[in-house]
Symmetry: C2
Subunit: 432 residues, 2 copies
Amino acid sequence: MSSLQGNLLVAQSGGPTPVINASLAGVIAEALNHEDDIPEIYGALNGIHGVLNENLIDLAAESQQTLRALHHTPGAALGTCRYKVKKAEDFDRILQVFEAHNIRYFHYIGGNDSQDTAAKIDALAKERGYELRVIGVPKTIDNDLPLTDHSPGFGSVAKHIALTVREMSLDNAAMGQNDFVSVLEVMGRNAGWLAASSVLAHRRDKSDDKQVRNTHYSCSAPHIVLLPEVPFNADNFIRRVEEVLKSSGHCFVVVSEGVQDEAGNYLGADTSSTDAFGHAVLGGAGESLRNLVEERFSGVKARASKLGIAQRAASHSASKTDVDEAFLCGSEAVKAAVAGESGKMVIITRSEKENYGVNTLLAPLSEIANGVKAFPDKWIGEDRMSIHPDFVRYALPLIQGELQLPYEQGLPRYAQLSAIRVQRRLEKFVSA
Amino acid sequence: MSSLQGNLLVAQSGGPTPVINASLAGVIAEALNHEDDIPEIYGALNGIHGVLNENLIDLAAESQQTLRALHHTPGAALGTCRYKVKKAEDFDRILQVFEAHNIRYFHYIGGNDSQDTAAKIDALAKERGYELRVIGVPKTIDNDLPLTDHSPGFGSVAKHIALTVREMSLDNAAMGQNDFVSVLEVMGRNAGWLAASSVLAHRRDKSDDKQVRNTHYSCSAPHIVLLPEVPFNADNFIRRVEEVLKSSGHCFVVVSEGVQDEAGNYLGADTSSTDAFGHAVLGGAGESLRNLVEERFSGVKARASKLGIAQRAASHSASKTDVDEAFLCGSEAVKAAVAGESGKMVIITRSEKENYGVNTLLAPLSEIANGVKAFPDKWIGEDRMSIHPDFVRYALPLIQGELQLPYEQGLPRYAQLSAIRVQRRLEKFVSA
């Protein structure tokens, strides 16, 4: 493969994850190993917006300290956007900016919408004969990207949700109420991976093992898991709540924000507002179920919590496995590009060995771009409100390990980029 | 003071906190030091309910491992209740149970309602000539107990809220949206201490200090804090949101669940939005503000999160200072009782020294019982939506230090009591 000399540009896109900055760190760290091929390492501010507006920063100028702190910093250090590039003039502009700064390596850290953009940039460059290598880095807490075994970001949010369920269930149990329903609404617009991950909180007291018995905590929460893959039926749900209340005294429900009833309406959705992609804004699945429970059962108290943005920003409880894999995907993307690959995204495969381990491969961007990997039907329990143990075997390795965050004045210390601007070389861009 | 030989009974009451079990550990650990005075250490299951129903367990039989794990276990290991003892026959029964089990030391870990119960038990025992020593242990995340400088439980939830705000604000900033409002609803029905603690997330970038600059993160969130002590005025709020959006691009609002409008209605008690079932969604203060913002500003997007029970169960992010003080209050309660005190609660005083430190004193239960310490007016900013820096000086020491939790399979390992029952000596109690 012929070597290609030119600068690298990395950008972040879509909703932040607890580990999207670890992927950024991986890209930078690997790029630094290829000084001959890659003289400059740039970042675009706020995703493709930063490319269009020529808002580029010099990432090689950041300190090692900052680079290291990116591993545990939530948000997205470069900023992200939700802008979906459609217009031909936008794509023209992107290539102009690339040419002006001799960008030959482009890495977009994002989900399927972002990889769609990356695919189109790659295709256009090929068409125009502009030598460019585009390798995407997977990112989504929703775990719904196709082809990859799992997506960086999922493991950390899954861990945070399972942790939250376990903590809340201890609180619920302590209250000693016989008729209490706790509802936790979690993210997941189209796929139930995150809601399902709440079952990682389950734990059986190993009461046959006398030696460890005392420190082993038994957790049956969550009792009910509602996935967007399963149309919601109020009567079935209420019947199940009743059963759990009878047997356990209290009932813990985890509901995905994306759950719809049989008519296709989101539970508690405020249909009057939509986001930039025209998706309905979801807000009320949890509160909606709380209302339903209190209406159907007299004397039953229900409370809803909604982690919202807190769950995808919870770097303080990130999975070390996830952080390491996010970093790996970033560095593998650069390695692949330097080796001559383009138009592909790094995917994670699980090693066949007894102990959990991963390898990476490349998959065509075009196959990532518009697919959504739903939660597999075979992992949905017979009652359609529980999760098969095979999912636990799949997901448990992904939440292993904890970070040791540096604390300062009682709170974690995060990275903030110096963000030294790269001088603009083009006129201001005004999109029609 | 004459020594008193007899058994000790400890119980937990009200809403759990991240450190109520650390107080329990403090009681048990100190009681073990007084073998001559205190032959048996019992716990009542689910607070005063456990006393009434003679549901007692043998705490001295628990392993050292369990005792240690109580320091970081959320919920309430003995279980709690919200039952307020009022009937004379209930109090009679309590003394009968105490006599039957030779209980001479009683420690109730709880808030003002619980200390009211403790005060009445103490008074009745004195009246009947039953020698009993009652020393309360303070507990409330709301920090609204009178006389004590602060209450065990507050520091940990304050830390979790500040941590959550800082993490979420990084996510908000990353999205690069110019018109985004993030709303976080926190607990605190009567007092704004928890909402106020969100300002501990504030951080200025020390950009004059070149050496540390890169790893210092600047955080201006929250921009608006709404306390239950301040009647909510929609116009003033909207005006302030507008100002913040103009200057900062996005606006972070923290609202206490207990905020009421000028007519005394809780926010979110009268929303017109309906869910998939056609029912009004009573989403609470946070959702109500989200709706208000989106109604008043066209093109502004708002999102609400509601931590709910998760915030008071978040032992994984507990403040070590808080855990240590909760333990101290438990052990000091036993010391005071053994020394002959009764009818009092342990309170925390702040040492006058330059560095933060605490001492404990005793205050009469009767003065704790029915007071509520509102958030001080002098610490509410002039605009009534911000917090004075003096509060930060007060609260910052309370969130210092982190626990090293033992993890197992990716999640914290919590204590579960063996809960070996003490044999009943009385007939079953049926309250009229």
